[in-house]
């Protein structure tokens, strides 16, 4: 067992656990007792792999970005999660969880969403399986991400506005938890990142770990080595980053870099750089690092990218940060938008603004020509066109 993975109590060092009201206990306990057994079943593995291949379009390519490589003086590889069905890595997790929910006999799915990518990925798998789907989304995000709201509705999902608190992702998560408390028997909650009470962070990490499992194989083919020198990914809750890091955690030579959203600057009061601005505490059922006041009230974060606009990080990230196994860096709105445009102009790929945060980190590093660098391109930028157009005045 790796030192970086969850222990039998549900903790990563000091982080994790299941800080949930008793009303949620039976559902979380059922998951905890059954998730490993279910995802290790041959029939589960077979169905999961088949759907990832034939429906999602995996393996996603590992693309050696030629012009980017010349510019940065290293071999820059992009892990193309943007080419997945529905346009981001989120679907790896929703496929896994819908198969699990079916095996648990659940008849109704709930989810939270910020940018709408996870909501779309959830609505998609529910359509695929013919299961009723309710997605909670902050009132403000419903306005900011209209195309994704339309996609969810077209897929047959009901989109319920979260109108409490700050009306964004954290409030959508609260509403989903309240729904689960009120519907404890036949509902499964598909959490969209490596957050929430144990076993969610571990379960979602396992589903997303396909990213680094494929990357190892692809690197071996392309470079003769299974491991890169650097793996870089953006962090909202942290699911694409954990997916990218997962199979490299025990290869200590691989430098893991997680890009958080600094928003208008770490000290601007408009930021989502949790590892810099946060302290240890409990958010959405796990002990982690979160942005909060000295009184323990959660602070509303800010980022130009709705998917990184979350006041916490998953407990495994809190652990990797604390022990120094991964490095957490902050990327501003401006740096991310410029990096997004640069990739578009130099490689013909419009990245999601979230993923552009990971790309922006390349500007800040110096490489050896022999370095192999993998950047997780977690999603495509179609959903962000409005955002880009406004920012650049196109």
């Amino acid at each position: 067992m790796s030192n970086y993975q969850v222990n039998e109590k549900g903790y990563y060092g000091d982080f994790g656990g299941a800080y949930i009201p008793e009303m949620m206990f039976p559902n979380i306990e059922e998951l905890r007792l059954r998730y490993m057994e279910i995802i290790n079943e041959d029939s589960f593995k077979k169905e999961f792999e088949q759907l990832l291949r034939d429906y999602v379009g995996r393996p996603s390519p590992l693309y050696l970005a030629k012009r980017f490589s010349e510019k940065y003086g290293a071999n820059i590889f992009l892990k193309r999660e943007d080419l997945n069905h529905t346009g981001a890595h989120k679907v790896n997790n929703t496929i896994g969880q819908i198969l699990l929910a079916k095996r648990l006999g659940k008849k109704r799915i709930i989810a939270e969403t910020g940018a709408g990518q996870h909501g779309v990925a959830t609505a998609t798998v529910c359509a695929l399986m013919g299961i009723k789907c309710v997605v909670y989304m902050g009132e403000i995000d419903i306005q900011r991400q209209a195309p994704n709201v339309a996609r969810m509705k077209m897929m047959g999902a009901e989109v319920r506005p979260a109108s409490s608190g700050s009306k964004t992702l954290k409030d959508a998560t609260n509403e989903a938890m309240r729904d689960w408390i009120n519907n404890p028997v036949d509902t499964h909650y598909i959490i969209g990142s490596v957050v929430g009470p144990h076993p969610y962070p571990d379960m979602v990490a396992r589903f997303q770990s396909v990213i680094s499992a494929e990357t190892r194989k692809q690197l071996l083919e392309k470079t003769g080595r299974e491991t890169p020198d650097y793996a870089i990914a953006c962090v909202g809750g942290g699911s694409n980053a954990i997916g990218m890091f997962y199979h490299f955690l025990d290869d200590e030579a691989v430098q893991l870099i997680a890009a958080e959203a600094a928003g208008k600057g770490v000290d601007s009061g408009h930021s989502a750089a949790t590892s810099v601005l946060g302290q240890e505490g409990v958010l959405h059922g796990s002990r982690t690092i979160l942005m909060q006041t000295t009184d323990g009230q959660v602070i509303e974060p800010y980022s130009i990218s709705a998917g990184l606009d979350y006041p916490g990080i998953g407990p495994q990230h809190a652990f990797l940060h604390k022990i120094g196994r991964a490095k957490y860096v902050s990327i501003t709105d401006d740096e991310a938008m410029q990096a997004g445009l640069l990739l578009t102009r130099m490689e013909g790929i419009i990245p999601a603004v979230e993923s552009a945060h990971a790309l922006a980190q390349l500007e800040k590093m110096s490489f050896k020509p022999s370095d192999n660098v993998v950047v997780c391109l977690s999603g495509r930028g179609d959903k962000d066109l409005d955002n880009y157009m406004k920012y650049f005045n196109f």
Binding site: E22, M23, G165, D171, N182, N183, L290, D295
Partner: protein
């Protein structure tokens, strides 16, 4: 002896009512005034909520009161300041209710110490898990003689209830049904069966029913099986009205019936 134990020992067999309200709502300084008025009106013990920005176990009414209380500037620091004069005015048991994160930031030991200093008798923290309580915090709670109250629901297994009974030192909080706070309890075969099943377990600790108790019918139903019941959202809703202080006696009487005390 802790006031909670004393209350249940002395009043065994009587109908007891507890009222929940959020500190700092409707006004930043309404806490002591509400506590006094409720005691005078015949309420047997109190739960004072310390507000949290993300109260996942609560329905809209208590969410709203928490949001307003935070806007008014309520915090744990301020609450403990205000409660310094609690025991000059109020004799009935008082519990604090809230979520784990504000308590962690305040410091669990400091929190228990502050409770003891101002005369708070117990705490209810729905998202503090049993395992963490037992491993990390039980000794501190005991050191300061603060009762930690656990919740049970219709789905809590008997084995878990027995374990909770062992760890509990005040009473057991029976959540009336599958719900966040503020959904009115409807008396059904299901709730009756649940209440009967729990009563038949003959637990060491008194049983107190909460969530959805809003009127005399649900109060009486709960009290057929339990030692006390807690009214939260229905009371917090009353606080919207200008003359809420004057209305408190009749509110309490409507729930308890005229047999009060």
């Amino acid at each position: 002896m802790n006031r909670i134990k004393q209350l249940f020992n002395n009043k065994a067999g009587k109908k007891m009512l507890s009222i929940y309200f959020t500190a700092g709502y409707p006004r930043i300084d309404s806490t002591i005034e509400l506590a006094k008025t409720l005691e005078t009106a015949g309420v047997d013990f109190l739960e004072i909520g310390f507000p949290y920005s993300d109260p996942v176990a609560d329905g809209p009414v208590i969410q709203h009161s928490s949001e307003e209380a935070l806007k008014n500037g309520m915090s744990l620091d301020l609450l403990f300041q205000q409660l310094k004069e609690l025991r000059q005015h109020v004799q009935i048991p008082v519990l604090l209710m809230g979520y784990v994160n504000p308590m962690l930031q305040y410091g669990v030991e400091r929190f228990c110490k502050s409770c003891a200093e101002v005369g708070v008798d117990g705490v209810i923290v729905p998202d503090l898990p049993m395992y963490e309580y037992e491993e990390l915090y039980q000794d501190v709670f005991r050191k300061y003689n603060i009762s930690n109250i656990f919740l049970i629901t219709p789905q809590t297994s008997e084995a878990r209830i027995r374990k909770i009974d062992e760890l509990s030192t005040g009473f057991i909080y029976m959540v009336s049904s599958f719900a966040t706070t503020g959904k009115n309890l409807t008396v059904s075969e299901q709730t009756t069966a649940y209440f009967e099943r729990i009563k038949a377990l003959n637990l060491h600790n008194p049983l107190v029913v909460g969530f959805g108790i809003a009127d005399q019918a649900s109060f009486d139903h709960a009290l057929t099986y339990a030692d006390a019941a807690i009214v939260g959202s229905a009371f917090v809703r009353l606080l919207d009205q200008e003359d809420y202080l004057e209305q408190i006696p009749s509110f309490v009487e409507r729930i308890k019936g005229s047999v009060a005390v």
